[in-house]
C-alpha cells in the first residue's frame, strides 16, 4: 500500500519532503538510494507476495481420486518413459543471438542521450558515431556466422 502511494506524484513529493525532514543529514544520494531500496522491496514483494498469500489462504491439500496430483503431463494421459531425455539445443544459439541484440538495443538508449547534440555538423557527427557504435556491435553477426551458428544442424539422439 505504502509502495503504491509512492507512485502518485503528490504523495511522491510529500514523501520526499518527509524524508528530507526526517533524515536531516541526508543528501539527495541517500534519498535516491532509499527510493531504489523501496522500489526493490516493492518488486520483491510483488514476486514473493503471491506465494505467501497462496500459502496462507489456499487449502492445504487437494482432493484426488488416483493420487496423480503431481503427475507432470497435464492432459490426463500417463506419460510414456522418463522426462529426463536428451534434446537438441540448436535453438539455444539463436536465443543467445537474440540476447546479444537485445543488449545492443539497450546500449542504444544511453548512446542516444550522449550524442544528443544540436546543429547540422554535430548531428552528422553524432550520426556517424552512432553508426560506428552499432556497426561494431553488429560484428556479432559476422562472428556468429563464422562460428556456424546459422546452420541448423539437428543431431538425432536415440531416446531410451
Amino acid at each position: 500500500m505504502l509502495f503504491c502511494c509512492l507512485l502518485i506524484p503528490e504523495v511522491f513529493s510529500d514523501v520526499s519532503e518527509l524524508l528530507q525532514g526526517v533524515i536531516f543529514v541526508a543528501d539527495y544520494a541517500t534519498i535516491d538510494l532509499l527510493y531504489v531500496a523501496a522500489f526493490f522491496l516493492g518488486g520483491l514483494s510483488f514476486a514473493i507476495g503471491p506465494f505467501v498469500i497462496v500459502y496462507f489462504l489456499s487449502p492445504r491439500s487437494t482432493r484426488n481420486t488416483k493420487k496423480k496430483t503431481t503427475q507432470l503431463i497435464e492432459c490426463g494421459i500417463d506419460p510414456i518413459g522418463d522426462a529426463w531425455i536428451k534434446f537438441g539445443v540448436v535453438y539455444y544459439l539463436y536465443a543467445l543471438m537474440f540476447v546479444a541484440f537485445a543488449v545492443d538495443i539497450l546500449f542504444l538508449f544511453p548512446a542516444a542521450i550522449v550524442y544528443n547534440k544540436p546543429g547540422i555538423v554535430n548531428d552528422l557527427q553524432a550520426f556517424i558515431e552512432i553508426l560506428m557504435f552499432v556497426g561494431i556491435l553488429s560484428l556479432i553477426i559476422l562472428y556468429a556466422w563464422k562460428k556456424g551458428v546459422f546452420k541448423w544442424e539437428r543431431k538425432i539422439y536415440n531416446h531410451q
Binding site: Y55, F56, L57, S58, P59, R60, S61, T62, R63, N64, T65, K66, K67, K68, T69, Q71, E74, C75, G76, I77, D78
Partner: protein, 165 residues
Amino acid sequence: MGTQDLQPSVVQFAQLDKLLALCRANSLWPMTFGLACCAIEMMATGASRFDLARFGAEVFRPSPRQSDVMIVSGTINKKMAPAVETLYDQMPEPKWVIAMGNCAISGGPFVFEGQYGIVEGAHKLFPVDVIIPGCPPRPEALIEGILTLEEKLTGSRRWPRVEAG
C-alpha cells in the same frame, strides 16, 4: 482411491472467507475439456452468441492446474475415465465439478442391462457439485449451471431467477 478429505487453509476468518468465496464465484475458470456432444454446447456457450464472459467464467484454461471448475461435458467411457480422474486430481483446490448433460449425470441414454463401456455418472469418479439436466443442455442451461455454482459458493444469487415457461 486417493484422499477425499480436504485440509482447510491456514488462515481462516469468516469475513475473509466470504470475500474469497465472492471472488472465486465471480471468476470461475473452467477447464478446456470436452468429452462428447455436450462439449459443442459448451463451446457455443463460450462463443459470442451466448457469451459466458458476461458471467465472468469465460477463461477456459488449457491446463488443469489453472482451473477452478471441471465441466464434465459428455459421456465418460470407461476407457476415458482414468484420464478424467487424472485431470480432476491435477486441479488444485478449491475446485468444483459440474456434470453437464444426462451422460455425465447418470450415463444417460447409454444405460441398459449389461452395458460395459460407460461410467454411469461423474459422481462415480469424484464429487459433483452441480448437475445440468438435458440431452444436450442448451447454452442457457450451462450458464444457469454456472450461476447455480456461484450460488452454492456465495449463498446468494447474482442474477434474477428466470422462471421456466
